[in-house]
């Protein structure tokens, strides 16, 4: 009889999980490699004061330096003097990690249910606005200080989750009851979210004291409090409490998938909708429910963007939702993997700024790297081929046994 732990190990070593991790890591390296070549070559077309002269060409960009800035810059240059753990760059990295965990979970939940939610961005946008507006208005009736913090933050997150969830439910309903392809509707709803929020903003909630399209600021006590003593205080716009909440949510979603009836039904629907229907799952309701949950997570991402980063909602929300797709894909839609992938993309975001200030290489490079990683993750066969090249003698297991596939009868 195997122990629970043995089984856990078994599962981890099982081809699917283990291979996913290997492939994700390999994809990262491959993307970094291709990106490095790209940087070096494009340096040949740029002009600079000091470059590397090779065969009559001057190469201005040093890929090593770019990656140094990208990976170590994101941590605040730990190898240079005067480094402190709670530095601003690391705070930015972790801030993005936190937001990307929410966004990545949002995409992963839908993905696991067999739905490609490209609309996390839109859900985040509307959710964030709901949070900001709710908190600004509620602050008028709720006492300030500690009470305000305790009441307003959960209220704000709830508002974001609720409105994001409702917004996510729209493509869910359209998919379930009108058979409208969710990839298209969610892409469209992203555009609609931008239009609708700006309209609502200028109609009612625009900060009268500002020229920027944005809401009034939420009171300071309604921003996610930082943990005293440990650090990341001041205006670093990052709170360990938020990260802890994100991690807790991540574990919660993993638990939901693995241990609950709902999670089981969701995964079944995602893998084999026919089997799910056979097993008594109402596929329409599941579609709506999973899109709603996905949207709620997107809305929470928006809520934290408001409550932790800006203290208000601003028009032109950055593309956290789209990055969430990359995060989820890299994580193989595994909630626990989302944490690691979110950190990587957090590094990218913060490192991109280091690249911007520390090198002459355009930071648009990061967008390319993200795309490359997704591309490589999408082609596991590529790495399997390489793997086979190094282990040619491997005897493949019989992978599949589909004795009769229905056609052959003995009538």
């Amino acid at each position: 009889m195997k122990t629970q732990f043995d089984r856990l190990l078994d599962r981890l070593v099982r081809a699917s999980v283990f291979e996913r991790i290997v492939i994700s890591v390999a994809a990262l390296f491959a993307a970094v490699l291709v990106g490095g070549v790209l940087v070096f070559v494009s340096g040949g077309f740029a002009s600079c004061r000091a470059g590397l002269d090779l065969a009559g060409w001057t190469f201005c960009y040093n890929p090593m330096q770019v990656y140094y800035e990208l990976f170590l810059g994101a941590l605040g240059h730990p190898l240079e003097g005067g480094w402190s753990l709670t530095n601003y760059s690391l705070a930015t990295t972790l801030q993005q990690t936190t937001l990307l965990i929410f966004a990545g979970l949002s995409v992963a939940v839908a993905f696991r249910a067999g739905l490609l939610n490209i609309g996390t961005q839109g859900q985040l946008v509307v959710g964030g606005l709901a949070t900001a507006v709710t908190v600004v208005y509620a602050a008028a009736v709720v006492p300030g200080g500690f009470v305000g913090t305790v009441v307003l933050i959960p209220l704000g997150v709830l508002a974001g989750a609720l409105v994001g969830g409702l917004y996510g439910a729209i493509p869910g309903v359209l998919k379930a009851y009108a058979d409208a392809n969710e990839v298209i509707t969610t892409i469209m709803l992203n555009f609609v979210a931008v239009g609708v929020t700006s309209t609502i903003l200028s109609w009612q909630f625009q900060d009268p004291n500002s020229n920027n399209p944005q809401t009034e600021p939420i009171p300071e006590y309604a921003e996610i409090p930082t943990v005293p003593v440990i650090g990341f205080g001041g205006r670093m716009d990052f709170s360990l409490l938020a990260l802890a909440f994100a991690v807790a949510l991540m574990i919660g979603i993993a638990w939901l998938f693995a241990r609950t009836s709902f999670g089981y039904e969701l995964r079944t629907s995602g893998l084999q909708p026919e089997a799910a229907a056979y097993g008594g799952v109402d596929d329409k309701r599941m579609t709506v429910a999973s899109m709603t949950l996905s949207g709620a997570l997107g809305g929470i991402a928006g809520a934290f963007w408001v409550l932790m980063v800006h203290g208000r909602w601003l028009k032109n929300v950055p593309s956290i939702g789209f990055d969430g797709i990359a995060v989820s894909v890299l994580a193989g839609n595994n909630p626990l993997g989302v944490g690691a992938a979110a950190f990587l993309f957090g590094v990218f975001d913060s490192g991109a700024r280091s690249i911007g200030t520390g090198t002459n290489v355009p930071r648009e490079l990061i967008g390319i790297l993200t795309g490359l990683i997704i591309l490589f993750v999408a082609m596991p066969e590529f790495f399997r081929m390489i793997g086979r090249r190094f282990r040619p003698a491997e005897t493949p297991r019989p992978t599949r046994a589909d004795g009769g596939d229905g056609g052959e009868t003995d009538a």
Binding site: R259, S261, F262, L271, A275, Y278, G280, G403, E408, A411
Partner: protein
């Protein structure tokens, strides 16, 4: 056993037009259209063909006989250039060939009609026939559709086919689809036609029609290789029979000089008996009753038209019918996967027409689905996870929305033990089990629900003989325990042997409900083809005397 078929036999042979294609083959002495010599083909973990020899004479029908998985299809795929064999030679018309692709085989005059038709459903008959070989006009700038239509008409005239070239393939019957496949091969100028289990989807009457076609084809000098695992078909239609077992050839025989028993033994390797005991059992209350159930498909076509049925406790009601006559939809309406457009369904006296699928499961309705890959199992899940499919919210395995995985695991292990699922590894993915073992697991899961009704659709399809017997035994055991059983199958032997009462479904209606003991297989066959008792079977006068 390596002696090739001892000469041609029943006179339909290479008389009239054989000479037209014989020239190239003269060198080998006898006139072989196809000679496969020592073919070995391996798949990961299986040797599908192991040094198989096959000699097919021109202008004959040559049957390839063997059980599921014997390697028949694989051998023909090698001949058709789909697979490259590890060992052996392919000789066509006396010339050794190495086919890299089906195109090479087509060029060498070989045509294949696959077990699963290779037709593009939304395209028309003519488009399918010409696919890949479209004659063009205006320097290749356009498909010459007039020419295609003309050539198809010519072929139809020559071989006596009736097909509408403009019809969309998904709209025509299976029999017509098969004609389309044959026309497709002929259109490419095939001289050798491979038919992989061509009768599996046909009614007995359609089968007769096919025999006529084969006769016409050989009369015009074509050579036919005919795959089947049905003895009577091989003996009836073929001029020579090669038997495959476990990937090896166990010899070629002349159907006139052998007995069915001998063939069966060669094929299976032991004596075969398919007689389930089915002594009558006391029946009880009506468990399931359907009243005027009508189901429309997505296009609004009635596929089930006002069906009434009753199943009592301790009784097996068999439903026989050619696939696609509404049995799938009827079962879905009963099991809650589809809502009937009209009529009611009652279960243990309660109207359950509006009940959800889950509620039906929870109330003791077990269901062995037709399609185990799509419905019955979640392929990427392991058996433990599959063990709870359908019970994921039942109080037995879940409390407060949490699944008790320890309980599920022990339940799964119990199923594995009781139903002899091999290998007995609860942590292996469902996809890694062979078809028979997958089916045993589903059967186990459904039977262990403590059901009062079992709906079993094609429960032994694609399953080997041992497992088939086991599943039949379990069904009869449940029946003895007083469970009501609705058995849907297109396998006549099976429904006849197991059912207490038998209904035949044709175009969404029950043609007849009889005592299976009172009817012959031929009579059922007629019913399945839509012939009401007493009516004359149009177009196939000799339908009764096949044996």
């Amino acid at each position: 056993m390596s002696e090739p078929g001892a000469g041609t036999t029943d006179g339909t042979g290479p008389t009239a037009t054989a000479g037209s294609t014989a020239a190239a083959g003269e060198s080998t002495g006898s006139d072989l259209a196809v000679h496969l010599d020592g073919i070995t083909k391996r798949f990961p973990g299986v040797v599908a063909n192991d040094g198989v020899d096959l000699r097919v004479e021109r202008g004959t029908v040559h049957a390839l006989l063997g059980e599921n998985g014997a390697g028949k299809t694989t051998l023909m795929n090698v001949l058709y250039g789909l697979y490259e064999p590890e060992e052996g030679r392919v000789v066509v018309d006396g010339e050794e060939r190495a086919f890299d692709s089906p195109q090479d085989a087509i060029d060498a005059g070989i045509g294949m009609i696959h077990q699963h038709f290779m037709l593009v459903d939304p395209m028309t008959v003519a488009e399918n026939i010409a696919l890949g070989n479209e004659p063009t006009k205006w320097f290749g700038m356009a498909v010459d559709r007039e020419r295609i239509d003309r050539e198809i008409r010519d072929l139809c005239d020559r071989y006596g086919f009736e097909v509408d070239p403009g019809a969309t393939v998904e709209d025509v019957s299976v029999g017509v689809q098969q004609r389309v496949e044959i026309l497709k091969a002929l259109f490419r100028g095939a001289d050798v036609l491979i038919l992989d289990e061509p009768t599996a989807v046909l009614t007995p009457q359609e089968v007769e029609g096919l025999y006529d076609v084969l006769e016409e084809l050989t009369a015009q000098g074509k050579t036919i290789i005919f795959i089947t695992h049905k003895l009577e078909e091989a003996t009836h239609a073929a001029d020579a029979i090669t038997v495959l077992r476990d990937g090896e050839s166990v010899g070629t025989v002349d159907p006139n000089r052998t007995t069915r028993e001998e063939l069966a033994e060669r094929m299976v390797g032991r004596e075969v008996l398919l007689e389930a005991d089915s002594e009558p059992v006391e029946t009880g209350e009506v468990v399931l009753s359907a009243d005027g159930v009508t189901v429309e498909d997505a296009r609004g076509v009635e596929v089930v038209s006002g069906i009434d049925l009753d199943v009592r406790a301790g009784e097996i009601l068999g439903i026989a019918g050619v696939d696609g006559n509404g049995q799938a939809e009827l079962v879905e309406a009963i099991t809650g996967l589809e809502t009937p457009d009209e009529g009611t369904i009652a279960y243990e006296g309660t109207d359950i027409t509006e009940w959800s699928r889950r509620r039906r499961i929870e109330n003791g309705m077990a269901y062995i689905p037709e399609d185990r890959h799509e419905r019955g199992l979640v392929m990427p899940f392991d058996l433990v996870e599959n063990g709870v499919l359908g019970s994921q919210r039942s109080p037995r395995f879940a409390n407060g929305g949490r699944i008790d995985w320890t309980g599920v695991r022990s339940h799964t292990e119990e199923i594995i033990n009781t139903y002899d699922v091999r290998p007995p590894d609860a942590d292996a993915d469902a996809s890694s089990f062979s078809g028979g073992n997958q089916q045993k697991f589903i059967v186990g899961r459904e039977f262990e629900r403590d059901p009062s009704l079992v709906v079993a659709t094609h429960p032994t399809r694609g399953v080997d003989i041992g497992s088939t017997e086991f599943i039949h035994d379990r069904l009869l055991e449940l029946r003895r325990e007083g469970v009501a059983i609705l058995l849907v199958s297109s396998n006549l032997d099976e429904v006849q042997a197991l059912s207490d009462r038998l209904a035949v479904i044709y175009e969404g209606e029950f043609i007849d409900v009889t005592d299976p003991a009172d009817v012959t297989e031929e009579e059922i066959g007629l019913l399945m083809a839509g012939q009401r008792p007493g009516q004359e079977a149009a177009g196939s006068p000799n339908a009764g005397d096949r044996r």
